[in-house]
């Protein structure tokens, strides 16, 4: 029972990281209708920037995270402006391949700057841990921090999209880009802001991911990126609560699957659950089904 609780908490912690990454995917998809495959690599860049800020410049962790957020925000806006904006009217596949190109670009630039040798991410957030059930259940500070960060981000984003003018503009653009433009919304600026928010979240996710799994390589971002993308689809792509739910469920399923079914098949179980869910709910758990009109 205690071990089940431990796996559950680890799962929620991993799921929280997935959820934060998935938010970036889902917001970009909802507004620009594109699969941003480079998102996973923005996570990696964020983690590297935080790593450098802490190890080489010996900045305090909080400042390092802020640095990573700033760098990733700038990077996200640049990627959007240089690579995706010229293709706004192009086919989906063209944008997808460009996103893959950007992903290769980021990975290989990172490879040149930081080499392929894995870096050990400093455990800056370990300030102690909570021990329950006579020390059988240890909850580390990283786990608590990840879960708290996830909740804070969730509340902030819900308020942002629901209450602010920019958030309303975002929802309008995702609903109908043409109509939003006619209402005087600056579509390009809205999309840039979306990329900025998504990339800043990716930086946070990168730091949280690496403080729980402290090996940092240029390919660190790709698998969590794919998983988070799966999570976004799982919850219904384009839906913010869906990304949250999808991320958490995916993390819990992955950890429990690895613990109780098979370590090697952990990823296969995650993807199998995704396929089963999509077969019964083709638009994801919280996605709105789109009806075709003739």
């Amino acid at each position: 029972m205690v071990s089940f609780l431990r796996f559950l908490i680890n799962g929620i912690s991993l799921g929280s990281v997935y959820a934060i990454i998935a938010l970036g995917y889902t917001m970009v998809y909802g507004i620009a209708k594109m699969l941003n495959f480079a998102h996973g690599d923005v996570i990696m860049v964020g983690a590297y920037v935080a790593f450098c800020a802490m190890s080489y410049l010996s900045l305090p962790p909080l400042v390092a995270v802020l640095c990573a957020m700033v760098v990733c925000t700038v990077l996200g806006v640049l990627i959007e402006g240089l690579a995706y904006r010229p293709l706004r009217e192009a086919t989906k596949l063209a944008v997808l391949i460009t996103a893959i190109g950007v992903s290769y670009l980021l990975q290989n630039t990172a490879l040149l700057i930081w080499t392929a040798n894995p870096k050990v991410f400093p455990s800056v957030f370990s300030v102690g841990s909570i021990k329950l059930f006579d020390g059988n259940l240890v909850i580390t500070s990283e786990i608590i921090l990840t879960i708290v960060a996830n909740i804070v981000i969730m509340i902030a984003l819900t308020l942002f999209t629901g209450r602010t003018k920019m958030g309303k503009a975002m929802r309008a653009v995702s609903e109908d880009r043409g109509a939003a433009e006619l209402m005087g919304i600056n579509v390009n600026r809205t999309i840039s802001v979306t990329f900025a928010i998504g990339s800043a979240l990716a930086a946070i996710a990168g730091v949280l991911l690496c403080s729980s799994y402290p090996t940092l390589m240029p390919t660190t971002g790709s698998m969590p990126g794919i998983k988070a993308f799966t999570a976004a689809v799982f919850g219904g792509i384009g839906s913010i609560p869906g990304a949250m739910l999808g991320g958490l469920l995916l993390g819990v399923i992955e950890i429990l699957g690895k613990a109780y079914i098979s370590t090697e098949l952990g990823d296969a179980i995650v993807f199998a659950v995704l396929i089963i869910v999509l077969l019964f709910k083709p638009a994801g758990l919280l996605g709105k089904p789109v009806h075709e009109k003739v």
């Binding site: 699969l35 063209a94 670009l105 290989n108 993807f271 995704l274 999509l278």
Partner: protein
């Protein structure tokens, strides 16, 4: 003499070009004019051409984005390797060509079965959801292959799941993949496979079924209203592509002495998709050219050493921007017109 149809003439010319290219390459190998590094690339080039042509059938002709094509390749590779080893041990088939052909057929059949099993759930979905499910299946196949162990003991095949302790000589050992594979793949066989897949795909496209497949791509609802069984035709394209990918996989597997499942991950599927998109979606000959050039390109960029993948990424982004941005395209169109009226400049797809 009966006048041939225009499409038939075009196809014959194109086949002629492929055959001439093969003869040139083969004579270059024979005379030793080809660099060693490039010679080693010949079978992979054939494999990637077949992969790109078959994926184009799914992405271009039937209009469904598939991100798990490498999964079928891995099924074909491993079943082909096992079949080849078994044929030699149990039935004493020592003729390498016969063994390779049989192995490719086995690889194709197994990949085809996987294609049917995956196609049933996948083709119920649409658009991006379909893409993510093919991605998921590709990852599942890789993950499961990482847990499979095969061994051969006096002509008897042993299989186990997640248990490396099985009698006999190991053929496939989980995450390490297949070791001690006979390298019986040859460039002429690769060429034969290209011709075979071209004949299959071209005939399918120009047939009644092919037109039905394209009709479902252009407008699903209209095609359905005309009485076309959408699922049947989408399935036909998907499974044909899977079979061809399986055969290519078998050839690929037997070109190396060790093959691990990690060779066929998401990146490989994406690589093939890049060939298809750069060559022109739905354009079979474009796929062939793109697959050849982009397999050779990293080899040619060897001078850039560490920077070559970076250059590759930048080239990829620039080509996509130039070919897809209306402003840049018209700019390049003007430049091309100034250069010469008949001179058709195709950025990214220019032949050497």
């Amino acid at each position: 003499m009966k006048k041939l149809k225009k499409s038939t003439v075009n196809n014959l010319i194109s086949f002629g070009i492929v055959i001439i290219a093969f003869i040139i390459c083969q004579s270059m190998i024979a005379s030793g004019a080809m660099k060693r590094s490039l010679k080693g690339q010949m079978v992979p080039i054939c494999v990637y051409i077949v992969m790109a042509v078959s994926l184009n059938l799914v992405v271009g002709i039937s209009g469904e984005l598939s991100l798990g094509h490498a999964g079928f390749m891995s099924v074909g590779a491993f079943s082909g390797i096992i079949a080849s080893a078994w044929l030699r041990a149990a039935l004493h088939v020592d003729n390498e060509v016969l063994r390779l052909v049989l192995a490719m057929i086995v690889g194709g059949v197994f990949a085809g079965i996987a294609g049917v099993l995956i196609g049933i759930p996948v083709l119920r979905l649409r658009g991006d959801y379909l893409a993510i499910v093919t991605l998921a299946f590709g990852e599942i196949i890789r993950n499961v292959l990482n847990c499979l162990y095969f061994s051969l003991e006096e002509g008897r095949l042993h299989v186990s799941f997640n248990n490396p302790n099985i009698p006999g000589t190991m053929l496939v050992s989980g995450p390490q993949g297949a070791t001690g594979v006979d390298k019986i793949a040859t460039f002429p066989m690769g060429f034969a496979l290209i011709i075979f897949s071209l004949i299959v795909v071209m005939n399918l496209i120009n047939s009644r079924s092919g037109r039905a497949i394209m009709a479902t791509r252009d407008n699903r609802i209209a095609a359905e209203a005309m009485g076309i069984n959408v699922t049947k035709y989408k399935m036909m394209a998907f499974v044909t592509a899977a079979v061809l990918a399986g055969m290519a996989g078998a050839l690929y597997g037997m070109n190396f002495s060790t093959v691990a499942a990690s060779k066929f991950k998401f990146d490989t599927s994406i690589l093939v998709l890049v060939f298809v998109v750069l060559g022109g979606i739905g354009n079979i000959w474009g796929s062939i050219i793109a697959a050849t050039l982009l397999t050779v390109l990293p080899e040619l960029l060897r001078a850039f050493a560490d920077y070559r993948m970076l250059v590759y990424a930048i080239v990829l982004i620039l080509v996509m921007l130039v070919t897809n941005n209306p402003m840049l395209r018209s700019l390049f169109g003007q430049l091309a017109r100034r250069k010469g009226r008949d001179d058709q400049v195709q950025v990214g797809g220019a032949e050497e």
